[in-house]
């Protein structure tokens, strides 16, 4: 294993933080403090963590409606995220965006997106900006199996390929676009098979194996930085929770869900770290507690923060 221990432990802690964040968010939702709806990332933590672990500050991501994990892995602060979920003035978007629009452009988070596939063309645009600015940076473009059927992907991936833009397409195939199973919505065996048509490498990776995701994305990032153009990565993973906070999940079986929960990406990675003596149970416990403490502080910050003033209704429409 070429990764240093700090990086491995960062991955472990990040995955714990993502899961803890989602659990906290669900709790706040049930308490009526989070409005609207939330799309939970639990079960998919290895995708965002392995992917964002492969990029540097200065690089960018476009996130999805199921974007909390992607934002946290890219370095978003959980206190500002939770404040946004609570619609507070201190949130990332001053309470004007909510769960589906967490963004920090200066930190390279070009926004989660309420439109399925809506961020895909933006990623090509950010990649073009890096290219024209002669910057050494790359863009990770996250999207799901559902978005893979949107026309914007065809248009953007083709454009990124002919222009050799520094973009890595990361399809988080969690098997369902709301209720529709990917086996019914995509005709080819792997979504990454479509990469052939874009003229770019297509790679399928076990999306619950954070190290495999990291290595696959790292190779694609190196290729993008070298000016060789985009790569299409499909990670096969699974969302443990419903599509959104109020989903009755009538479209899948309990057995199927339990089978995937046995493939828990965090437990799996933890076992690797324990087996290789990079982690012991005391250290694991300490990291868990640290993540919990940060989330509790974030919750306190979010709850105690003020709502936005009513006169901000009409600010920020134009620059």
């Amino acid at each position: 294993m070429s990764l240093d221990t700090n990086k491995l432990l960062w991955m472990y802690k990040t995955m714990l933080t993502i899961r803890g964040f989602e659990e906290k968010a669900f709790d706040l939702f049930k308490r009526g403090l989070v409005r609207g709806s939330i799309h939970f990332y639990i079960g998919e933590e290895a995708m965002a963590t392995g992917s964002c672990g492969a990029i540097q500050p200065g690089d960018a991501i476009t996130a999805t409606h199921r974007g909390h994990g992607q934002c946290i892995a890219k370095g978003a602060k959980v206190d500002l995220m939770l404040a946004e979920l609570l619609g507070k003035a201190t949130g990332y978007c001053k309470g004007k965006g909510g769960s589906m629009h967490i963004a920090d452009v200066d930190a390279g988070i070009l926004g989660a997106n309420g439109i399925v596939g809506g961020g895909i063309p933006l990623a090509a645009g950010a990649g073009l900006a890096f290219k024209l600015q002669k910057a050494p940076n790359v863009v990770l473009c996250f999207f799901g199996d559902g978005a893979s059927n949107q026309g914007g992907l065809l248009e953007s991936a083709n454009l990124a390929s002919i222009w050799k833009l520094p973009v890595v397409y990361i399809c988080e195939n969690n098997y369902y676009g709301l209720s529709m199973c990917v086996l019914d919505s995509v005709a080819c065996p792997n979504i990454a098979d479509r990469a052939v048509a874009f003229g770019m490498p297509g790679v399928v990776v076990d999306g619950n194996d954070v190290l495999a995701v990291y290595e696959t994305v790292s190779a694609a990032v190196a290729r993008a930085r070298a000016g060789e153009g985009p790569t299409f990565i499909e990670g096969k993973t699974y969302r443990w929770m419903g599509h959104f906070s109020g989903d009755a999940e009538v479209y899948r079986t309990k057995e199927e869900k339990e089978e995937w929960m046995r493939k828990d990406p965090i437990a799996r990675f933890e076992k690797i770290l324990l087996d290789r003596n990079l982690l012991d149970s005391a250290k694991a416990q300490a990291l868990r507690q640290e993540a919990e403490r940060q989330l509790e502080a974030a919750e306190k910050f979010a709850i105690e923060s003020p709502d936005p003033a009513l006169d901000t209704l009409l600010t920020d429409i134009y620059a």
């Binding site: 960018a60 476009t62 949130g91 990332y92 978007c93 001053k94 309470g95 004007k96 965006g97 629009h101 963004a103 920090d104 452009v105 200066d106 070009l110 926004g111 997106n113 309420g114 439109i115 809506g118 961020g119 895909i120 063309p121 933006l122 990623a123 090509a124 645009g125 950010a126 990649g127 073009l128 900006a129 890096f130 024209l132 600015q133 026309g151 914007g152 248009e155 953007s156 083709n158 454009l159 002919i162 222009w163 600010t315 920020d316 429409i317 134009y318 620059a319």
Partner: protein
């Protein structure tokens, strides 16, 4: 002053802004060696090269979305969609992304992009190549909408649009490209959101946009022969709308006719009429009249198309009707 065409005025604006600011670049279909479907970008590939004059595949969603993404990351893209009719394919990126990002990100991003396109009938291009869809964008908070009718305005407004930090929908007209007008040799800007009184008059105010502005000026000349002095106002920018200039004119003339090439229902004329009725009701001596296209698909046949486009005769009739 130089006399140049509207087409040349657009090109001059693009050239000057690209020379001035290296963050400005263009992307669109056939804008490279071909010079654009209407010849606007002729010669620009030679001057600026393929990195900055980016020919794209036929991918209107990507053209718009790439412009939004590049703008968010510090560039100043000028995207082109060949016909406004094709902008339906860009709508998510313009309406849900470009217009929303700044607000939804709490003011922490800006999208300095221009989406250039052209609309209008007059060439027997039928229902998918002739529309005037400006009102769709006027309805969307977060976008500016500019629709210039003269070489002077198009150049000065395009330069302002490129320098502005907001997403701007910039709508030219296919039948105006070859018209000529005076343009200063020295650099100038025309401010966004300021209407222009193109002809002064005391009897009636005609607010007209784009190609209809040119027609309205002809109508005003003929009306003058009949002793009616029409004041012709070009809003130039549809959002933000300079309602004050329109109200000041109506205050003087007490009569208002609004003329645009888009069909009447929910067109920009409806908004202007509503605002004048709200803020200038006491100035009016007669009901506000709209002279617009009918609520129809634009036909191919030349006689039908001519019947579709608001005519000088219809406009003059409307003026006389409210002055009676």
């Amino acid at each position: 002053m130089a006399i140049i065409t509207y087409r040349e005025a657009v090109r001059e604006a693009l050239r000057e802004e690209m020379r001035r600011d290296e963050r400005v670049f263009m992307l669109g279909e056939d804008i490279g060696i071909y010079g654009g479907a209407f010849g606007v970008t002729t010669g620009m590939l030679e001057e600026f090269g393929p990195e900055r004059i980016r020919n794209t595949p036929i991918s209107e969603a990507a053209i718009a979305g790439v412009a939004v993404g590049a703008a968010a990351m510090g560039m100043r893209p000028v995207a082109e969609v060949m016909y406004i009719d094709f902008i339906t394919l860009s709508m998510d990126q313009l309406v849900n992304q470009a217009a929303k990002i700044r607000y939804m990100f709490g003011g922490k991003a800006k999208i300095p992009m221009v989406m250039r396109t052209q609309g209008g009938a007059g060439r027997c291009n039928a229902g998918q190549h002739s529309q005037s869809l400006e009102a769709w964008f006027v309805h969307i908070p977060g976008l500016y909408v500019i629709q210039p009718s003269t070489p002077y305005d198009v150049k000065g407004l395009l330069k302002s649009a490129i320098r502005d930090d907001n997403p701007v929908i910039f709508i030219e007209h296919k039948m105006i490209y070859a018209t000529k007008g005076e343009v200063p040799e020295k650099e100038y800007l025309v401010p966004i959101g300021v209407a222009d009184v193109k002809r002064e008059g005391k009897d009636v105010t005609i607010v007209a946009t784009s190609m209809m502005l040119l027609m309205a000026l002809e109508a005003a000349t003929e009306l003058a022969k009949e002793g009616i002095e029409a004041e012709v106002v070009d809003p130039c920018t549809l959002n933000p709308l300079d309602i004050d200039t329109i109200l000041n004119s109506v205050k003087k003339t007490s009569h208002l006719v609004i003329c645009h090439e888009a069909n009447e229902r929910c067109g920009v004329g409806a908004e202007i009429a509503a605002q004048v009725a709200d803020k200038g009701f006491d100035y009016l001596d007669a009901p506000i009249k709209r002279v617009c296209a009918p609520n129809s698909v634009i036909p191919y046949n030349q006689h039908l198309e001519r019947a579709f486009i608001p005519s000088k005769e219809r406009l003059m009739e409307a003026v006389k009707e409210i002055l009676e």
